[in-house]
């Protein structure tokens, strides 16, 4: 996939760095977008191992959900990713242009019962509850 449509913006502000990226609503952009963001997280607050696995995995899952279930792969919509790197944390916001949902009405499978093979603990929490969806 061409990455020409991926334009990462970087802004430094008061001991924090903010990265912004608009991702087209097509699943083939997930990998390139993850690589672009992860390779730009250079503050050191996350170890190379955490960036290599945890950050990439979380980003890939959140982006896939936003593209597939939020924007329904509608080419007229984008997913906006914003990454805040501070001295102590990396906070990732993934926002789609879907109709949103109420996360309090979605049961947490691991809390309700023991997960079976292939099911995984919930990794990301949806917020805010109305309108667009953000994932942290």
């Amino acid at each position: 996939v061409s990455t020409q449509r991926l334009d990462l913006r970087r802004r430094a502000a008061d001991r924090a760095v903010e990265l912004s990226l608009d991702v087209p609503s097509a699943l083939e952009y997930v990998g390139p977008a993850v690589e672009l963001i992860a390779s730009s997280c250079t503050s050191g607050v996350l170890s190379p191992r955490r960036v290599a696995f945890n950050l990439r995995t979380a980003l890939a899952e959140a982006l896939t959900n936003a593209i597939a279930y939020g924007n329904r792969q509608n080419p007229d919509r984008v997913v906006r990713v914003r990454v805040e790197e501070t001295a102590t944390a990396v906070r990732v916001h993934v926002v789609d242009e879907g109709s949103g949902f109420d996360p309090s009405r979605i049961p947490d499978p691991p809390a309700a019962r023991k997960p079976g093979p292939g099911e995984r603990p919930r990794l990301v929490r949806a917020a805010p509850p109305r309108g667009r969806r953000g994932l942290q």
Binding site: V30, G31, A52, F53, R56, A60, P115, G118
Partner: protein, 111 residues
């Protein structure tokens, strides 16, 4: 190239996954393994030695392939998982579904 397929002298197909197995490339892996299955391959080892991360759709395609291969009387084994990937398979309980070897060589040894 995300994937490499090589058949050893005994006909075991070793599939190397370079970088990641995610929503964007899972179909390519699935098609290439199914083509090898169609071509008579029955024993498969997926080598994750050079793999950084796998998302849930990547896990899903492994489960799907394992089922299809079993239906044909074959087996899919996994090898070369790093510590984080090993934890991923344990958390999802997929370590109970697959035979997982430490290295591809170990996976091939008694296949």
């Amino acid at each position: 190239m995300s994937f490499s397929l090589q058949k050893d002298k005994r006909g075991v197909v070793v599939v190397g996954v370079d970088g990641q197995l995610i929503v964007g490339n899972r179909q390519e892996l699935k098609q290439r393994v199914l083509d090898a299955l169609e071509g008579g391959g029955r024993r498969f080892v997926v080598d994750f030695t050079r793999t950084g991360y796998i998302d849930s759709s990547g896990l899903g395609v492994l489960v799907s392939l394992s089922k299809k291969i079993r239906e044909q009387g074959g087996e899919l084994r996994l090898a070369g998982l790093n510590e984080d990937l090993q934890t991923l398979f344990e958390l999802t309980k997929l370590d109970t579904l697959f035979a997982i070897a430490r290295t591809p060589e170990e996976a091939l040894a008694d296949f």
